[in-house]
């Protein structure tokens, strides 16, 4: 019925499965080096070939999926866990100093050049997956705070909220029981999109060496390693690049599909 959702779900599902599977099984040990066997093209033994240390790329892509997905997932979760309550609070106290502070804080975070801050964070704490998560997570907070506040504000104008207020419910309770459930669709859609952006961000950070550290593979670092080797072994750069593209593409398609499915406003507009 919904082409986007099916295709997107299939693509991202594929990589999520690979990530989960990698905990139990990979065709080769992803850290095992075999330098004489380096730069093999995809073949029957090494399905996606080997890298400059003779490691099995297929195994590395599987574990890399794990890294990407874990970092992105946690980062987005941080964004949601902090951003959504902030957005709800700001909306509930619209116009108050609290709202003002939250929104100004948001603007401020938005105003910071994210990549530079990410580099700074890693300069302070050293590179690593956790710091990549923090760096990406911080910039997800205002995104969620903002869309939650926006959606919540229009909900607060709705008569059913008025009815709940007449029924004597507190603002916190209304936010929790009425506003939150009605913004979840929006959050799911935005969450999917942020998830895909986070995967791109993680790849970018790893690419400049600030993401997960060796020997744990990550797609971005595989690309960085492959950089100087494109002319000799193009598959080293192609494969992780395509993995990133397919995952992000899958998530975006899924986001679009979910939006069509969940957002009744758009469903009506389609007629």
């Amino acid at each position: 019925m919904n082409r986007n959702l099916i295709l997107g779900g299939f693509l991202s599902g594929l990589f999520i499965l690979a990530a989960i599977l990698s905990f139990f099984w990979t065709p080769f040990d992803y850290t095992a080096m075999n330098i004489p066997e380096k730069f093999q093209r995809p073949n029957g033994l090494h399905w996606l070939g080997t890298d400059h240390f003779g490691r099995d790329i297929f195994s590395m892509i599987m574990v890399g999926a794990r890294t990407s997905i874990a970092v992105a997932l946690i980062a987005v979760s941080i964004g949601i866990a902090i951003g959504v309550p902030l957005g709800l609070t700001a909306a509930a106290r619209k116009g108050s100093w609290l709202d003002e502070i939250i929104m100004r804080g948001n603007d401020l975070v938005f105003a910071f050049p994210s990549l530079v801050i990410a580099i700074l964070i890693t300069a302070v704490f050293g590179p690593g997956a956790v710091n990549a998560i923090i760096a990406i997570g911080i910039f997800n907070i205002p995104v969620f705070a903002r869309i939650t506040r926006g959606a919540a504000l229009s909900l607060w104008e709705r008569e059913f909220i008025m009815a709940a207020r007449v029924a004597g419910k507190s603002a916190a309770r209304i936010s929790r029981e009425h506003i939150l459930p009605n913004v979840t669709n929006l959050l799911i859609v935005q969450g999917t999109i942020q998830f895909s952006l986070a995967i791109l961000a993680e790849a970018g950070l790893s690419y400049i060496g600030l993401g997960a550290q060796p020997p744990v593979p990550s797609w971005g670092r595989m690309l960085a390693d492959a950089q100087t080797l494109v002319a000799i072994a193009p598959h080293l750069a192609m494969i992780p690049g395509i993995a990133i593209i397919l995952t992000v593409l899958g998530l975006n398609l899924m986001g679009d599909g979910l939006r069509d499915l969940l957002d009744p406003r758009l469903r009506v507009a389609r007629t």
Binding site: T31, H52, F53, A123, G126, T228
Partner: protein, 469 residues
């Protein structure tokens, strides 16, 4: 063709070779713009520079330098004894910011005898004094140029500084008033390309004529195969070592250090990280040095022996430590391989990638590390093993005495003997894991001649470079 574009990976932070450690400064300016009393040649030998000749007193304490006549700075002023005295005094002054102040430690006084004669008196004899005076940090500068030296360097060399577009390039032009033989080139441009891919692409696209210190050895075979290019493979003064924190357990145990040394497969590292470029070393000494001794057999790749040694040291199950890796690819790539090799004998080395600033702070000054990989590019630097406070913290009285003795010795034969002894001492103490001598890799267009193949010091000496007609 009289113009050349030379690319390097790193850009100089500023242009004063006498107040920073950055090699990029020397690479651009050494012998091209600035000259010292003596100077390095491409083969590592020391020849007269601004000093035409010199006399050394019997006791080896007094050096009398006779300067070239008619040498002018680029601003038109004459270079004379006063400038020499100024330069040397400035470098050893209390508030000096010379990164190699130790080079001048032996100097007691500097006197100007006449405009073309300078007398330097040492506190004690120093066999390396002429060698020291050839360093980029000991070049002769004019007092009036100091204020702006970091942005407009004024030297005596065959090329004048023209302009610097920060982040991009530095341009030099031939000095018409040069006192020595005029160079073949009229203009030279140094371009800074930090990214290895960009380096490859720029060379392939022929945007540049020479890439000195090519950062991606994996691409060299392509240049070799291409008639448009020549590849120069030489050696540097860089002993690449797996440094161990000799004061921190378990590396305070020589058995553990020996175990680490035997766990390492140098050839795999050279092949994997350097794509075959680099000479295995077994001690902290450059293989091209006549006094070099091949001690690699002392630490051959022998995982079984390594395990056995660990067991002897009471660590049959191995142990965990950290492996700090600075940015260059010899460290980052080599580190990944070493971590895998150590894992094979049960040593779990957690990789910590650091920037140079962090490396200096945590590893070098803080001595907070287990293992680290670094290339020691200073020439003739075995003396660092005599400094117990040096970051790997090797504290051996016998070695320290040997070095003190060596400094006082000027007799070449004796010096050679002592150097060999020193090499053996540290190799047998397994102070560090000795990996390989860093190769000097350059790519140039086929028509460029006269480039240094080796790098006895950081320099791209353009005075002898020319295009084949």
């Amino acid at each position: 063709q009289t113009a050349i574009t030379v690319a390097m990976q790193l850009e100089p932070p500023h242009l004063d070779p006498t107040s920073a450690a950055a090699q990029a400064i020397d690479s651009v300016l050494y012998t091209n713009v600035f000259e010292g009393l003596t100077k390095f040649q491409g083969d590592g030998s020391i020849v007269p520079g601004l000093a035409e000749s010199w006399d050394i007193s019997e006791d080896g304490l007094v050096y009398t330098f006779h300067l070239h006549d008619g040498v002018k700075f680029h601003d038109g002023t004459t270079m004379d004894g006063e400038d020499v005295k100024f330069s040397l005094d400035r470098a050893r002054a209390e508030d000096s910011t010379n990164a190699q102040k130790a080079l001048f430690a032996a100097v007691d006084t500097v006197e100007v005898v006449d405009p073309l004669t300078v007398k330097v008196t040492l506190k004690e004899p120093n066999g390396l004094f002429l060698f020291n005076m050839a360093w980029g940090d000991a070049v002769i500068v004019a007092p009036e140029s100091i204020e702006n030296i970091k942005t407009t360097p004024i030297g005596t060399g065959a090329f004048k500084f023209v302009s610097w577009t920060q982040g991009d390039k530095i341009e030099l032009a031939r000095n018409a008033d040069y006192w020595g033989a005029a160079p073949a080139l009229e203009t030279a441009t140094f371009k800074f390309i930090s990214d290895p891919t960009a380096a490859f692409a720029a060379m392939m696209a022929e945007d540049i004529d020479v890439f000195s210190g090519f950062p991606a050895p994996e691409n060299l075979p392509q240049f070799e195969a291409d008639p448009r290019f020549q590849v120069l493979v030489g050696s540097t003064e860089g002993e690449t070592i797996l440094a161990m924190n000799n004061k921190r357990p378990p590396f305070d145990n020589v058995k553990v250090r020996e175990a680490v040394a035997h766990a390492i497969d140098r050839q795999a590292i050279i092949d994997g990280a350097m794509f075959g470029y680099g000479t295995p070393i077994g001690t902290h000494f450059a293989p091209h040095n006549p006094d070099y001794e091949d001690l690699t057999a002392l630490s051959n790749h022998d995982p079984e022996k390594s395990k056995a040694l660990l067991a002897e040291a009471g660590m049959a199950d191995g142990f965990s430590t950290t492996l700090h890796l600075p940015p260059p690819s010899y460290a980052r790539r080599g580190g990944e391989i070493i971590a895998a090799q150590l894992a094979a004998v049960g040593i779990k080395a957690e990789i910590v990638n650091v920037e140079w600033a962090q490396w200096l702070e945590t590893v070098f000054r803080g001595k907070d590390f287990g293992l680290t990989i670094v290339s020691h590019t200073e020439p003739m630097d075995i003396g660092i093993y005599a400094r117990p406070d040096y970051y790997f913290q090797y504290d051996n009285k016998a070695f320290q005495d040997l070095m003190a003795e060596l400094n006082r010795t000027t007799d070449p034969a004796k010096r050679s003997e002592m150097l060999k002894q020193a090499q053996e001492m540290i190799a047998k103490d397994y102070v560090n894991g000795y990996l390989f001598q860093l190769a000097m890799l350059s790519v140039a267009k086929a028509g460029v001649e006269g480039l240094w193949v080796n790098a006895p010091t950081a320099a791209v000496d353009l005075t002898v470079v020319k295009w084949k007609q």
